[in-house]
Point group: C2
Chain length 278, copies 2
Amino acid sequence: MRISIVGLGLIGGSMALDLKASGFATEVIGVDISESHCQQALQRNLVDRILPIEQAIDQSELIILAMSVHHIIKTLPQVLDQVESQVVIDVGSTKQLISEAVKDHPKRANYLGTHPMAGTEFSGPQAALKNLFRNKVVIFCDVQESSKSAILIANEVYDCLRMPIVKMTSRQHDKHVAYVSHISHISSFALALTVLKKEKDEQHILNLASGGFDSTVRLAKSNPEMWSSIFVQNSENAIEVLDNYVTQLKKLRKAIESRDLHLLNSIIMEANKIKKIL
Amino acid sequence: MRISIVGLGLIGGSMALDLKASGFATEVIGVDISESHCQQALQRNLVDRILPIEQAIDQSELIILAMSVHHIIKTLPQVLDQVESQVVIDVGSTKQLISEAVKDHPKRANYLGTHPMAGTEFSGPQAALKNLFRNKVVIFCDVQESSKSAILIANEVYDCLRMPIVKMTSRQHDKHVAYVSHISHISSFALALTVLKKEKDEQHILNLASGGFDSTVRLAKSNPEMWSSIFVQNSENAIEVLDNYVTQLKKLRKAIESRDLHLLNSIIMEANKIKKIL
């Protein structure tokens, strides 16, 4: 199948690698507003050709939108305006506003919203990796709104990437990812800011950063454009989980301030229950 | 040199492995209040013999205290009461209160406070690892209070473990580790609690946990006894950094709530500066 990938970053580039390697994509056409991304994607053989989006749509059976959600929400309706029988999927990290943006579109059924839950803190075509998605979960949203052929093709795509599929509404999706992904990033950005601010006064504080710090702050390296648009589109859920998070921090603060060994012990034992799922 | 290690957990056990492998320790005597820890340490050959602490002190040239800081602060003065020429080091994650507890002890100079900045989220003798410490930093505190021979022996110990040494006061130490270690753990415990609380309502929320969540929540598996006693002993610094952290979270909250793409972008770009040191 000839496919177009719009947005040649970490996710789009990594999908290109696996879809070509599996033979599912006989040709990958790349689309990106960044000239340097296009050049890098060609050099790394992520894509076979670069085309403007209109021509790419005309020449493909499947179009994958892999830009920031901010760009997906603007581009998806335009893509649907142009498609005939082509299938369109997006891989954005928010779903509700994107889904609403095409709710009444005559070609709505050609589209399926998906979210492959994989990534790293790096971005751009140079960050693309083989097997990035393997054994991670992909979420399909609002499948009842999509045609059988759209669902069939999306199934094939994520079979090639070896991703188990979970189905839910885009509303459920946005709530869940706020808990399992967005809050981790908020927490990590805030942690980086806290320590960087202190560093101005305390020069060698960061020489000491060891294992624990690395892993909690790793996500703070994540792409600003991607994450600012996620937070804008999932504002309400992100605020809800952030408020719950601050409530838990206050509970810990109170126990630390009162130097209550027994209470701290029981709070941490409660947090330890995360072992059962990780 | 014959050494005693009091506390046969992750840190004590891992030190035993490296100090024996390097030949520095000709014999390692193990001390632990937990009978099962003693048995596991013997089975894994972390230690050669188990003795009660009084006998272990008498038969060693070096005593390493590797328990929770809560136990170190009670045990260190008793150990110093008994030593003659032996050197005593501790490897606790807080230093100021421990240092104060022996400030006027006649054998104060036999003791040096150290903190090897390495670890994992696992605990107990089974968690002990070879080369856990290699190329991580160790902090020596208040070296002017220790005898030349205590410093010399501590230097040899951490040479064997391949750890570069940083020197500071115990007061500076406690402030710095609050920023580069303790807040990461507080953040991670709170994150685990937030998500576990939500899970009660939303059954399959955790099936979705992907890379980002794993790495930020990993530390929430850490040992309750160890961390509750760290927070009690470093309460003031932990509260200071926690308050700074919540200030940064509020800044992010405001930008997310106002859906201000530009502001979010600039905050995340600021957080990205952590790249320069990680």
